[in-house]
Symmetry: C2
């Protein structure tokens, strides 16, 4: 009960702070005295700080405004991309305090060296975070593949060439908590926590492959095995191109990065930035290929609309970067296939950093949910 109340105080300050003790008491329905005890404990633990007196004019006698600490626990987020590794540290206030990214060639890679490199990068960011008086209290890693529910095992990441890889043991053992999740899931959570998106939407992202995450009532729909959201393998041409997943005619074969690059004679290594540049420069073939990809996406999203009727479909990651050319074709396809009202097709404002931010924020949310458990570990 005490733990639940500590969490309620933190969440109230996170959502509405700075707040006085009296304001917190009103918001969470506890007495001023009870809140003061909780606040004292959270202040001692370095989770809350006092900002000084609140302004006159607020209701009741002036109190000290409370805010989440910007020198307390921090969440570390990491992302294993096909051609990069990235790590960041986010403080309790949600600000990115340290960020590091290195180019990499992770396609069809041996997991060992990739994870060793990631671990070194995590340690570097953690050390920098400590120099800023932050205490890394956990790490979440975004991967472009399926992760078994509640585990750190990458069941299948076709573009990395990984299958059945338990990532957990290779990550820094000194961190109190380590989690691994699909990049689309974490991108969706970033949309929810950082992007302020109301809690019923489908988040579509791409990083070579195409993934999605379904958010229902503010929670991720993970599925029986943790594999929900695999939009890239929804069949759009049932007798079409074979896909490495074992299927045929999957969306990824028509709207994935590789499919688009192949269609315009570019190589897999050139990637999204080159595609975007050419499209921006008016390259007719690239624009046509992106229109085709957008139409295929629209076909798959037609199924999503009919099955889930989401409030919004949000394009994130690489899809957000290519949205000026993808979105109109996807919208046209939805419009010509669906004759009833449906949710908006929107572009994420978080860009390609969504999964990385979602990973770091998932650790921060863990601290807010369970402030004692997460801060018990030594700094």
């Amino acid at each position: 009960m005490r733990q639940r109340n500590l969490s309620l105080v933190l969440h109230a300050v996170a959502a509405h702070g700075p707040l006085s003790r009296a304001d917190v008491a009103v918001r969470i329905g506890l007495t001023r005295a009870a809140v003061s005890t909780l606040v004292d404990e959270l202040t001692r633990a370095g989770l809350l700080v006092e900002l000084g007196r609140t302004r006159p004019g607020t209701v009741g006698r002036p109190g000290t405004a409370l805010a989440l600490s910007d020198s307390g626990p921090a969440g570390l987020g990491a992302e294993i991309g096909v051609d990069f590794l990235a790590v960041c540290a986010v403080d309790l206030r949600g600000r990115v305090r340290v960020r590091a990214e290195v180019a990499a060639v992770n396609r069809d890679s041996d997991p060992g060296p990739v994870l060793a490199r990631l671990t070194a990068l995590v340690r570097r960011v953690a050390a920098q975070a400590r120099q800023e008086n932050l205490r890394p209290s956990g790490l979440a890693v975004a991967v472009p593949g399926l992760v078994a529910r509640g585990s750190t095992t990458v069941v299948r990441a076709p573009n990395l060439g990984w299958e059945g890889v338990d990532v957990g043991p290779a990550l820094p053992e000194e961190l109190p908590a380590v989690a691994v999740d699909n990049e689309a899931n974490l991108g969706a959570l970033a949309e929810l926590w950082v992007g302020g998106r109301p809690g019923d939407f489908v988040h579509v992202s791409a990083e070579i492959g195409i993934g999605a995450a379904v958010v229902v009532d503010g929670s991720l729909l993970r599925g029986a095995h943790g594999f929900a959201g695999e939009l890239g393998h929804v069949p759009v041409h049932p007798d079409g191109r074979p896909c490495p997943c074992g299927g045929r005619g999957c969306l990824e074969q028509y709207a994935g990065e590789e499919a688009v690059l192949r269609a315009v004679g570019m190589t897999a290594g050139q990637g999204i930035p080159a595609l975007r540049q050419r499209a921006a420069d008016g390259d007719v073939a690239v624009r046509r290929a992106l229109r085709g990809a957008g139409a295929a996406l629209g076909t798959a999203l037609t199924g999503v609309v009919h099955l889930l009727d989401p409030r919004a479909i949000v394009l994130g990651g690489a899809l957000a970067e290519l949205s000026p050319w993808l979105l109109p074709a996807a919208e046209r396809e939805l419009g010509r296939r669906i004759a009833r009202p449906y949710g908006e097709l929107a572009v994420s404002r978080l860009g390609a950093d969504g999964p990385l931010l979602g990973a770091a924020h998932s650790v921060v949310q863990g601290v807010l949910d369970d402030p004692i458990g997460r801060t018990a570990a030594p700094a």
Copy 2:
């Protein structure tokens, strides 16, 4: 709070009864005295009955075993089919006590006469229920179409030819509560409440059209507009046959009743029973058509598995009746498209009556959830 506790008592007896007062107290975490007060109120209201002394050998002093009343409130369920109307009354114990069904020609119909006929049938069943000492406390109507969330308006039921029809005002005004819902939704709820299915599955049903309902954590996923679960309009051949919904290549055009009948030269009026008979008799063309329908269903379900990763996909309604010929083809299609673990493809044990039972049970659930509100109305 009192209302919540009354509901807790009823749900405990519904799920685990017959129970003594002491057993109820243990299950819901209230004192024996508090439970006795609640039980007295529920007994006076005719919701609970005492069955006599519990057997010796149970823990504590012997008490009176409590059960839900079989002569108290009843739920009325109705279904508007394309070629039938059905109504039933279910008591608090979940037993069907009255059932009536009439053949009808509701395709492309004028709603007025259909609803007048339904209302007469509802009144007949309600009168019979009263003769059995039941008190009809509400009506839920299953329709083969989209119903606007939280309303009694059928937005679109293509096979009835109805669009924007508010069914509510035409239904018996003497009933305390009237609700309207999509037949696939109600079929799914029957699967959950009557079929004992654990709470994460997709229920697919057919009655001319093909609908589905997505159940997540024991709740229906309704969608932003209430239109979730429209599996019949997931594109399976994106450039395929036009569909009355405005789309193209929708599943319904390949696996719907009409499509199958058309493929074997039968007329729309002959319906599922004739199809089933011919398939059972070994008609090669019918079996081939059903295999084709099953394969198209498997293609659409591939998308469902990738997006939602349900614990199970349950075929109900007409699909259950045709399952001996549809299921193998659908399973083969899923197997050749999906190379990872996925939930079982199962057949509903409720048969074609699922939506009707779900409708009646939704009223019973309403009584269990809100015993005071629902029984305040005069018998």
